[in-house]
Symmetry: C2
Subunit: 323 residues, 2 copies
């Protein structure tokens, strides 16, 4: 009997940023009062968010993103809006605390960094980065669901920010996660892959095409539709490769390879300012050279980097990563 798993090339999802969260979230078994209990737990450790930025202390050049509640007292914490992320193996609760204080009010010893910089500068180890991503997504979702979509009534957070209930009509709401397909189109005949440039990318950077999955679509159909819309390339087979939680604001990136059936690019200039085929050797050069010195790909940790570098390095067959 052949194994179902023998043809797999290891789990690329584990190698993406934000994927390192190991908290026990217990999100479906949270009793009334779980947030209050966690807030009162002397072991509780808090990430802190002010004006959409993460607070980080630098101690001997090491980034330290966790605070005690008393360290945050002067920054106007909003405990009722705190997110209970979950529990470490030792039982220690981890939370994300929103602050009313402005970034200007934060003491000089603490930096307030936007979440993207925290990730791009590799400031945190994978477990903490995963916890921050979870917290950022949940903070953003809670802020977008302060009112009931059915009746407009005010909603209250429950279960440490994992549910909201309408005070007027009692409807319940759960966190939103938006599936996005992101794909590397490969023309196997010419051994090239397709990358595009969005106008908001840094100069010289090219990446995979991507877009929101629509109601009533499979993942594979979304990959084919988005690729056709953005580049004019028709795809045949689609192969899932990896997924990544993406906290901007609460997205699930679903990374796939697409088999090109056509070659002529007609890109959508309302979304892209360039779209080209790159040979495997060009990609290898882009991966090995500093980003400042010519065309480049997204940084390590991004799922686009994973898709591109795993194709370029031929790490797509069994045992390429190890399990």
């Amino acid at each position: 009997m052949r194994s179902l798993f023998e043809e797999m090339a290891g789990e690329a999802s584990r190698l993406t940023a934000f994927a390192g969260n190991t908290l026990d979230r217990r999100s479906e078994q949270r009793p009334e009062g779980c947030l209050e209990e966690a807030l009162a737990d002397p072991r509780a450790a808090f990430y802190a968010s002010a004006e959409g930025r993460l607070l980080i202390k630098f101690e001997a050049d090491k980034a330290q993103p966790l605070f005690t509640l008393s360290e945050l007292q002067s920054l106007e914490p909003e405990p009722a809006a705190a997110i209970l992320l979950g529990y470490r193996r030792t039982g220690e609760p981890r939370l994300m605390m929103p602050l009313k204080a402005t970034v200007e009010a934060v003491p000089a010893a603490i930096k307030a960094l936007d979440y993207r910089s925290v990730y791009q500068q590799h400031l945190l180890p994978p477990e903490e980065l995963g916890e921050v991503a979870q917290g950022a997504s949940l903070l953003a979702w809670n802020r977008s669901a302060l009112h009931c979509g059915f009746c407009g009534g005010e909603t209250d957070a429950k279960g440490g920010g994992y549910r909201r209930a309408c005070a007027n009509c009692a409807k319940e709401f759960f966190p939103r996660t938006d599936p996005v397909v992101i794909m590397l189109t490969v023309d196997e005949k010419s051994d090239r892959c397709l990358l595009g440039r969005s106008p908001h990318f840094r100069p010289g950077m090219f990446s995979c095409l991507a877009g929101f999955l629509e109601p009533g679509e499979t993942i594979e159909d979304a990959v084919r539709r988005e690729t056709l819309e953005e580049s004019g390339i028709r795809l045949g087979r689609v192969r899932y490769h990896a997924s990544q939680p993406w906290p901007f604001p609460h997205t699930l990136m679903i990374g796939c390879y697409g088999e090109a059936l056509s070659e002529e690019i007609r890109f959508d200039s309302s979304e892209l300012d360039d779209c080209r085929w790159f040979s495997r050797s060009e990609i290898r050069e882009m991966l090995s050279r500093p980003a400042e010195e010519g065309p480049s790909v997204p940084p390590e940790g991004s799922i686009a980097h994973r898709l591109i570098s795993d194709w370029a390095g031929e790490r797509l067959h069994s045992d390429a990563f190890g399990a």
Copy 2:
């Protein structure tokens, strides 16, 4: 050079119900007035929904779910809330029209069937079933977003039901699709798979375990977490198999296989009333026998059926389906 796609067993997603939608949705290129234009198009064809049920005419025993606008006039259509699904290749617009009329007011020649029955009774061909799924998801989402989550203001539908904008604070909202992982856990040593019974299943039916993906999780981590929570079984590797749009109300089912690392089941009795290992021969018997005559699996078209029958029939290696 080995092909990226050579190890794939064909596209199982294509064999799931609701996946047959071939409309050109043009959802990102919809001009102002696109809905009004479609409503006025004499070729426009309408699905119709009353009290959450789909209207179907039976003509010589053939289910006919499409109406002209004039056929619906007596049933209090709500054109401002109509969903523009997209366009057939000929340019013919397809829409989903909500009706204010109650099910009782529907003429006897027309049946009002709940969406689940339409699917379970195989009443519609794949393309129409896919269009109905898209329309049902979008109707449900629009109804859940009548008010702005940020300020509580009223929202207006735009782009034929693909966006809503707050009349008060101008924030924009987009359709919601909730990713759910559904997985068949396989113990390769004993050649068995794990199925559970939810209390709301029909008598005798067992299915795959499933649950919502949480903020900050990869697909693979969600599969492992849900399996552990519901059954007590620890998983190792996870392999993606297929996806399915699931319009109850607006879900993306992400179907995977999980590699069992443990055997002893401790199932969550708040979610399941049974959970067991089944041998491959037991599963083959369940697949070949009428559901009334003993333990059964979900019907064809469901992604659970796909996961179970593709494992039982060993259709998980290259060229099992054909591309």
